[in-house]
């Protein structure tokens, strides 16, 4: 039974790769696999075309949109990695799509035109990492206060912050 499902998965994956190669001519996608998870790296310039092609091939749910800061990872060429976790509801296949970004140009097209659920996910990635999504309908910070100056989940931001958490007036008993 397990052999059947893995065989059908791999044959689905092969057919998926060939379908995507037809939908995206001339775009070099790097496929890899780790512990049953299939990943594909898209170039940042062709990101919207790739995402639309993934959606057309059946990945109709964007499960998660997040970013990774590879500053202290070692052995990498790019600093930020934006990760899209996709799920195909009919077949149950999952795919992880990634792009790499570098400073100073941290702009990437927004995925809200493909999946509506990317709305808040992109706002959170901007809030925490500072990656700008062009074409977002309501682009502002989601979780932190609107006038917060830094991007906390970057590796060069200390865990305890830079004093923003205690930057408030003190109320004494007499003034209450």
């Amino acid at each position: 039974m397990a052999n059947e499902t893995t065989d059908s998965n791999t044959s689905d994956m092969e057919s998926l790769k060939s379908r995507l190669a037809d939908l995206l001519p001339g775009i070099a996608l790097e496929w890899s696999e780790f512990r049953g998870q299939t990943r594909v790296v898209c170039p940042a310039g062709e990101l919207l075309k790739c995402l639309n092609a993934f959606k057309q091939s059946g990945f109709d749910q964007l499960t998660d949109l997040t970013a990774v800061d590879l500053l202290e990872y070692g052995n990498v060429n790019d600093r930020f990695e934006v990760v899209y976790c996709l799920l195909s509801i009919d077949s149950g296949m999952r795919l992880i799509a990634k792009t790499y970004l570098n400073e100073p140009d941290l702009t990437i097209p927004s995925a809200t035109s493909v999946w509506f659920g990317a709305d808040w996910l992109e706002r959170e990635v901007y809030d925490m990492y500072g990656i700008i999504f062009a074409g977002h309908p309501n682009f502002k910070r989601l979780l932190l206060p609107d006038d917060f100056q830094s991007f906390p989940l970057r590796k060069d931001y200390p865990v305890k912050g830079r004093g923003e958490r205690h930057n408030f007036p003190v109320i004494t008993r007499a003034e209450s």
Binding site: R162, H166, F168
Partner: protein
Amino acid sequence: MSTAASKHDLSRFGSEVMRFSPRQCDLMIVAGRVVMKMLPVLQRIWLQMPEPKWCISMGACACTGGVFDTYSVVQGIDRFMPVDVYVPGCPPRPEQLIRSIIDLQEKIQSGGTINAREFKLRILPEGPSRFDEDELIRIRERNGFKLEDQKYDPVH
């Protein structure tokens, strides 16, 4: 919440009534961690309460920030607001909260106030300073000033 329920009944101490508006309250219990986005709201609620008023800081997170020593959690509300009784625990047991209300009642009985004129004399802030030492050290290091002798820091 179980403090006000039937097993550990809080109304036997006369403190059962919980209101949703701060304008009608004497006591504010701050339970749980306070994020920096919420602190001005908390201060405004405190200012909306009419005198005489008291504050209980309940739980490790409201007292000192608890396990959440991060960029967004205030490390103790007593840095920014006057607190009368602290309740430790994560979470505090209902008996601890009852004990804190009894303590507050004894404090009011002994020190006490009739129309809150005594509070006007307490003009200095009573909690820890709002600048952490390691924040100050980090700000100074960023500006290029290094201390010669590093104090012993068991955490880092």
